[in-house]
Symmetry: C2
Subunit: 87 residues, 2 copies
């Protein structure tokens, strides 16, 4: 399954969430991740994410698609993703 | 067409971009928008967005799908969207 994950976290939890999400998905922008992931791994990611999040203050939105082919991606402005390999 | 739009803007341009995107799409989180939009309206939105953006500093990512049915959305934590009608 292909997912897009977007986080909206309080500043003090951003880095922990970033590290977690990068273990499972590709970081493409600020707090946006994408990638192929299995149902089992996604459940693991969400369990760990919930342990970091304060559910009354933080928010994560997932968009799931059966295949990446159903989504066309377009980037306007600067590409962040090349940083992914450096950080 | 159904789109997900994610902005990563410098602080001083966030509000202008927010106002622009809300004229075309539903605001669902921090800098994330979604909605049905025609090709023509999307072109208009992107033209106006480029006029606001500094393309070396800001970034907008669009995910386009022929239909919303191909995407399943899941929200973890707090829902931001109820604010949309208030702000």
């Amino acid at each position: 399954m292909y997912v897009i994950l977007v986080n909206d976290m309080k500043q003090q939890r951003v880095n922990r969430m970033l590290k977690l999400c990068r273990r499972y998905l590709h970081w493409i922008q600020n707090s946006v991740f994408e990638g192929e992931i299995s149902e089992v791994k996604l459940m693991a990611l969400l369990t760990k994410a919930r342990a970091i999040m304060h559910e009354d203050e933080d928010s994560t939105i997932l968009f799931k698609s059966r295949t990446q082919q159903w989504l066309e991606k377009q980037v306007v402005g600067c590409e962040r993703s090349p940083l992914d390999t450096i950080l």
